[in-house]
Amino acid sequence: MTTMTDPPKASFQLSMLIYDTRYRSYTFQFIALALLIALMAFLGVNLVKNLAEQGQNISYSFLGEPAGYDINQRPIEYDSQSSHMRAALVGMINTLIVAFLGCITATIFGVTAGILRLSPNWLVRKLMAIYVEAFRNVPVLIWILIIFTIMTAVLPAPNAFRGENPASSMFLDAAAFTNRGVYIPSPIWGSGSLVVVLTFLASVFGVFYYRRYATKLLYDTGRLLPMGWPSLAILVLPTLIIFFALGQPISLDYPALKGFNFQGGLHIRGSLIALWFALAIYTGAFIAENVRAGIQAVSKGQTEAAASLGLRPKRIMNLVILPQALRVIIPPLISQYLNLTKNSSLAIAVGYMDLTGTLGGITLNQTGRAIEAVLLLMLFYLTISLAISAVMNVYNNSMKLKER
């Protein structure tokens, strides 16, 4: 009787690197590593040679030099004497602005369309199907250009608002839709406005607290407190009272036609609107599909079980279907956000000054530092992507079904 033993340990031979599966993986990894290093060396040597031939170098000192150009949408202080670094920063913030606005709007569009695609209403269902198919199957660049064309070629020029009998007039005397963008009133923060804002924030918390309290009361004692109008009252009344008590510290700055353009108010440029809405509608179509798939992934038995417990359709949706569907919907939703952020780099097609427009556009052109600029550009997007992926991983882990 023999016990099982390992195969006899043969002494190592060179041919085993190819024929012996135990060692072969080392051969492959060595080859792969060698190839990688060779490739890197090849590219690196070429880079050095090319740069030497053209008498150039890799240097990031251009970031500190004055940019020399102006940017129309400046969320932070910037003028043509600021550095290229500052211009890049403006671009980054602009990218984040359009990505943020786009994600929120896309979610609204997507969730609405996704739920309506399952509506009992035949017509609405068909319309939503048309929306989803039309936008999913046509490049987002074309949609951006189409909406941009609507913004610039269809809306009236500020000139049309001029004169005794203008061809166009402002909406409610407060907002102007021109081919240079939309002008809406912006708030002026007077003294004491901070108190108003704080009150409002406090009321928001108050509403949450009230609703939680009401729910708890319902579960504990069975007493049903009204939810709707008290929430609204808590939200609005204190703020209004403080607002008037302090003598209306917040007023509105209305846009008015002065000189060539409207002055005052908040100017939302056509390029931002085009990019924002095109991305939102396009991504919304994808989100709609995710939402629909998520809801359909909840088995029909769940709906029927809930219905047999006597829940009304709206409650079935809120209490049974959505919590389960969200688990399916959210991961693809986040990757859609990621796509939207990356697609926002198409800003360059409509002249929206995001990072691709400043660092990857004008700075690159003016300084000729192509390698450095493109590298920084990639790093920025890579950082955002990895950050979003990290968030997604955390979420996925926390939502993992805890099965016993």
């Binding site: 072969r24 792969a32 070429n46 097609a349 691709t356």
Partner: protein
């Protein structure tokens, strides 16, 4: 009790009365589908209004359209203030929209023929049950035929390329017994050597069956979108499989190379990769090398899509039950065999919808090349056509045309993928 005492006794069955009007036919359908609740009725009314608005504003524009006029001014004159589209821009510039403004017009038949043959080549791949397997031979030959048709030049170029591939395949089949991985590497080197050698041989064949050579710079329009889409997707599927297998591999170095590559490419927007193709790549090539812009773009887009396809296929690999891998091992199959015979056929089948999604997305993304001054269909519209003095201001007709072209293609592909999904469903039939 006699019968007389009762007022009335029914002796025969009543005929079935028709269901109430509200529960039958059109009315029932309307009630159930459009007016089931007040909220639904409101939605219906709003939708009808929206549809009505769109139709009444678009229909005259479409039906009053002018299909024959030399310029926008002339077209507006013909319309005389009526609402109508100037579709004449399409009839006049269709060739530029489809082929770009420099492709010789007497040679349009070449890309046209290549396009038609694409369907012949794709048919056995797409509808394997209907078309004979022998047609796959033509599919294999198609890339070389299409290259010859579109770019022109002597026939020896694609023939040598084909021979190189066959030579590589021959070497692979000889080596595969030893180790599939090594066979892949060696056969690749063999093909490469063959190609380089054939480069020196091609001199005498320079005029054999030579079609007029068209530099890729002269191509444009929708043709570029189609070419980039087809070429890059077909190149990136094998690359994507390799990357996916590499990422699943137990060899740490190979795994990490693949992971870094995939995550890097997926983390940056395509447009930055196109910038690389356009303005940076030249720095990393030997001095004096000069690729076509198209070739550089093909390389970058292929890298881009292969990373996405790799992730799709990885999903397919991960979805396979562990038992399948173990079954392969227990049969004594080595890595290459078990992948080829057991794992990949199943994993690829699961991945098909995902791959098609990536392909459709990629095809749409080919319009981005217009940003780096290539004249694809969007580039043609924004550049030469809209800036010409004849057609300055014709937006909707041109964009509409592009939208229709892309919609037909992408919708067609996604419908196909859904059909295929139903075909491949092997569970509960």
């Amino acid at each position: 009790m006699s019968r007389e005492q009762l007022g009335f006794v029914r002796t025969e069955m009543l005929p079935e009365s028709p269901p109430p009007l509200a529960a039958t036919g059109l009315v029932k359908w309307l009630r159930e589908n459009l007016f089931s609740s007040p909220a639904n009725s409101l939605l219906t009314v709003v939708s009808v209004l929206v549809v009505y608005q769109i139709v009444t504003s678009a229909a005259p524009w479409f039906f009053n359209g002018i299909w024959d006029s030399p310029s926008l001014t002339a077209c507006r004159e013909i319309l005389g203030g009526k609402v109508g589209g100037c579709f004449a821009v399409l009839t006049e510039r269709w060739n530029q929209l489809l082929f770009g403004f420099k492709y010789p017009s007497d040679l349009y038949w070449r890309p046209g023929l290549a396009f038609v043959l694409l369907f012949v080549a794709a048919a056995p791949l797409l509808f394997g049950k209907i078309f004979p397997r022998k047609m796959l031979i033509f599919t294999g030959l198609y890339p070389f035929i299409a290259f010859w048709l579109i770019w022109g030049g002597p026939v020896s170029t694609p023939v040598f390329a084909l021979l190189g591939v066959l030579f590589g395949a021959f070497v692979y089949s000889k080596m595969v017994k030893t180790s599939a991985g090594i066979a892949v590497i060696v056969s690749f080197i063999a093909a490469l050597v063959f190609w380089i050698a054939s480069g020196y041989l091609s001199g005498p064949f320079a005029n054999v069956m030579a079609l007029e050579a068209i530099p890729s710079r002269d191509m444009g329009g929708f043709m570029i979108n189609l070419m980039l889409g087809v070429i890059c997707v077909s190149l990136s599927i094998p690359l994507g499989i390799l990357l996916a297998l590499g990422r699943q591999s137990s060899m740490p170095i190979i795994k990490w190379i693949c992971v870094v590559f995939i995550e890097f490419i997926r983390g940056v927007p395509l447009i930055t990769l196109l910038f690389v193709a356009n303005v940076v790549l030249a720095y990393f090539l030997p001095p004096g090398t000069n690729f076509d812009l198209i070739l550089r773009v093909i390389i970058m887009i292929t890298m881009f899509s292969s990373a996405y396809i790799a992730e799709v296929i990885r999903g397919g690999l991960a979805a396979l039950p562990r038992g399948q891998y173990e079954a392969g091992d227990s049969l004594g199959l080595d890595y290459a065999q078990s992948m080829q015979l057991i794992i990949l056929p199943q994993a690829l089948k699961i991945s098909i919808p995902g791959i098609v999604n990536v392909a459709v997305g990629l095809f749409k993304d080919t319009t981005l090349v217009s940003v780096i001054s290539m004249f694809d269909i969007v580039g043609m519209i924004r550049g030469p056509i809209l800036s010409s003095s004849e057609w300055n201001g014709v937006y909707w007709e041109l964009f509409g045309f592009a939208v229709v072209l892309f919609f037909i293609t992408c919708y067609g592909i996604s419908q196909y993928s859904q059909w295929l999904e139903r075909q491949l469903r092997t569970d509960h039939r």
